[in-house]
Symmetry: C2
């Protein structure tokens, strides 16, 4: 494969589709989000609204940061606070018609890249492991 062919490659083969992606909703409380994160084993997961539109990302670190008080772990906040109050909107996101080159450069600073279609519907994510597996294969052709 030529270098330009790699960069112009379609991204659909790298996609983990939405039904395989652990996610929570903006109005869930932090306890629910923490349980989904701990059960899934993932560090950070997408936040999708009821129309399945991407709203942000939430991680164990953000939840821990929000409940670690100066004196003690304020675990009552887990039931009271909502995901939307803690999530980040610093999301790497591309359209499904953009080439691999765009996902490769975003993956330098983001553990996964979200993918939407042209109407803004969430299609899934491309994690760094998929990109690295493909690159490893390219160098061993």
């Amino acid at each position: 494969e030529l270098k330009e062919d790699v960069l112009n490659r379609s991204i659909t083969t790298f996609l983990i589709s939405a039904d395989q992606v652990a996610h929570v909703q903006p109005d869930n409380n932090l306890e629910h989000a923490l349980l989904v994160l701990v059960k899934s084993g993932y560090t950070a997961i997408p936040v999708l609204d009821t129309n399945f539109k991407l709203q942000g990302l939430i991680s164990k670190a953000q939840i821990l940061d929000s409940i670690l008080g100066i004196e003690r772990i304020e675990h009552e906040k887990l039931g009271e606070w909502k995901v939307k109050e803690v999530m980040t909107d610093n999301i790497a996101c591309v359209n499904d018609d953009q080439p691999f080159e765009k996902v490769l450069s975003l993956s330098i600073n983001h553990p996964f890249v979200c993918v939407e279609n042209t109407q803004g519907a969430f299609l899934g994510i491309i994690p760094r492991s998929k990109i690295l597996a493909y690159i490893n294969g390219y160098f061993h052709e």
Copy 2:
């Protein structure tokens, strides 16, 4: 750069040296480890003994898993349990004289790869972000 040159490249240019790597010791308690993890912002960090030899990795997820009881968060364990009781020994590790090819293939399934010298002393880590930045540059030469 030719494909073989990339695979045979030395790994020292990718290294985050040991003095820049957040780490804890096997005999620290979980509360200390959680504070280092939360303060550093990293998901997982190396565990080094007093001779600076790599013993394992510890993550927020492991600490959270160990204190999440069925009924409640058992936060008293944070002061009582030690890092060595919770850390994993599933570590991706290479010698500093091994080529880039080895680090690339390990990075597919590990967020970072540890590097030791031939005497077993911990030299630092190579995170996926460094590998991806180099790969991105290769395709844009």
